[in-house]
């Protein structure tokens, strides 16, 4: 807590310092000119560390710069505008008083100095600064806490929507966002398609190669599926153990069928060895596709059921294939 005295009269400097130090304000800096004052404040050199100044006592009449002008300069600078300035001067006429307050001074003390008055005003200004500094600090902490909280919430949301093993979206995400996309599709009168996907003979794979390998297989398949659905709005989620579901907004049945077929082909092309698969010697998937032009105020349940049924038929008909649900 330093107090800066700016006064060209050495006698006044010493007197002020004596009065202040007697009150316990040990850190008193004396400046006889504005350039010394600037140095203390760190105004001349951007890099120099400014003394932490909590109060400025300044005379109006000085050889190199007018105190009121100096006050105005300080108030313009964000680094110093919160330091209270008390004018201490023998030139106490109305014009000066007004100019001083307009320049941003908070108080005014007449010379010759009355010690009691000086201390009272100094104490009151320092208290105010202290309280203000505390408040500013609290606000900073509050903003930081809010940021931390927001980040934590974001992370939480992310975690609650992500499947831990495969890092693609999870079932909860799918349920929420299907509902959203469904509503949007109905508003915009656009079709929406769903592809239900299941890895063929996955239980056999786990039995043959172990669960760790099974997990690795799931992740690989998930990556491939997700990598192929790059259009904004398209997403694939893990629906169940070895089951995935893809949502394709703005896509009709024909387009969805084409996408499903390329998903199937790409998974087969991964060439993941699967000895115990009776159909191919690599990992394959079965897919069921359904599509709808959502009616207003309808639910997406039907489209899910339909693609599920189509998937079932794909299994029935031999697996490693795409079956499309057609409206009879």
């Amino acid at each position: 807590m330093a107090i800066l005295v700016i006064d060209d009269s050495a006698d006044d400097q010493l007197l002020l310092r004596s009065f202040l130090q007697r009150e316990g304000y040990d850190d008193v800096l004396l400046a006889g000119s504005s350039s010394v004052a600037f140095d203390y404040l760190g105004m001349t050199d951007q890099e120099s560390k400014a003394a932490a100044i909590d109060l400025i006592l300044m005379d109006i009449v000085m050889p190199d710069i007018n105190g009121i002008e100096l006050c105005r300069l300080l108030m313009k600078d964000k680094r110093f505008s919160n330091i209270p300035v008390i004018m201490v001067t023998a030139h106490a006429n109305d014009r000066n008083l007004q100019a001083a307050f307009e320049a941003g001074a908070v108080d005014f003390i007449h010379k010759p100095i009355n010690r009691i008055e000086l201390i009272a005003r100094v104490r009151s200004s320092l208290n105010l600064k202290y309280e203000t500094d505390k408040r500013v600090q609290r606000e900073k902490e509050l903003i930081e806490s809010t940021h931390k909280l927001n980040r934590a919430n974001q992370k939480l949301r992310y975690l609650s929507y992500v499947d831990e093993l495969t890092t693609i979206a999870n079932r909860r995400y799918f349920d929420e966002f299907l509902a959203k996309e469904w509503n949007r599709a109905s508003r915009q009168q656009k079709p929406l398609s769903l592809i239900m996907i299941d890895i063929d003979f996955f239980k056999n794979y786990n039995d043959t190669y172990g669960h760790t390998q099974g997990d690795e297989c799931l992740s690989q398949v998930a990556r491939t599926l997700s990598g192929m659905l790059k259009r904004p709005g398209d997403f694939v989620a893990r629906y169940g153990g070895e089951e995935f579901v893809a949502v394709l907004p703005d896509t009709g049945l024909h387009g969805a069928e084409k996408v499903a077929e390329s998903l199937r082909a790409n998974v087969q092309a991964l060439d993941i060895e699967h000895e115990s698969s009776p159909i191919e010697k690599v990992v394959t998937i079965s897919l069921g596709v359904s599509s709808a032009g959502p009616a207003p105020h309808s639910e997406p349940d039907l489209i899910v059921t339909q693609s599920d049924k189509a998937l079932y038929r794909a299994k029935q008909e031999g697996r490693n294939r795409v079956v499309v649900h057609r409206h009879e």
């Binding site: 009269s9 010493l14 010379k111």
Partner: protein
Amino acid sequence: METDYGRVVVHIDPDIEDLIPGFLENRQKDITTVTEALRTEDYETIQRMGHTMKGAGGGYGFDEITDIGSRMEAAAQDKDNDAILRQVRALSDYLEHVVIVYDE
């Protein structure tokens, strides 16, 4: 002004006792400076010195110095050489005769 056999007694705050010698020495210097300035009719300097005295005197406990300073400042503004000289002499007399008592 309290007088005691022709001397002037001033009560000064004991806590600033260490500043007093310096202060009085500066006032002696002021006498020299103002006298010199008067010779060259440098009224600006005289006004500034009077102003400084006005500000500092009473703060240290020397109310008379504040008054002298005030009168000197006014005299310099009026460019009144006689008045200035009177204040210089008043200050000189004062410094010679002042008796300082350190108590509250």
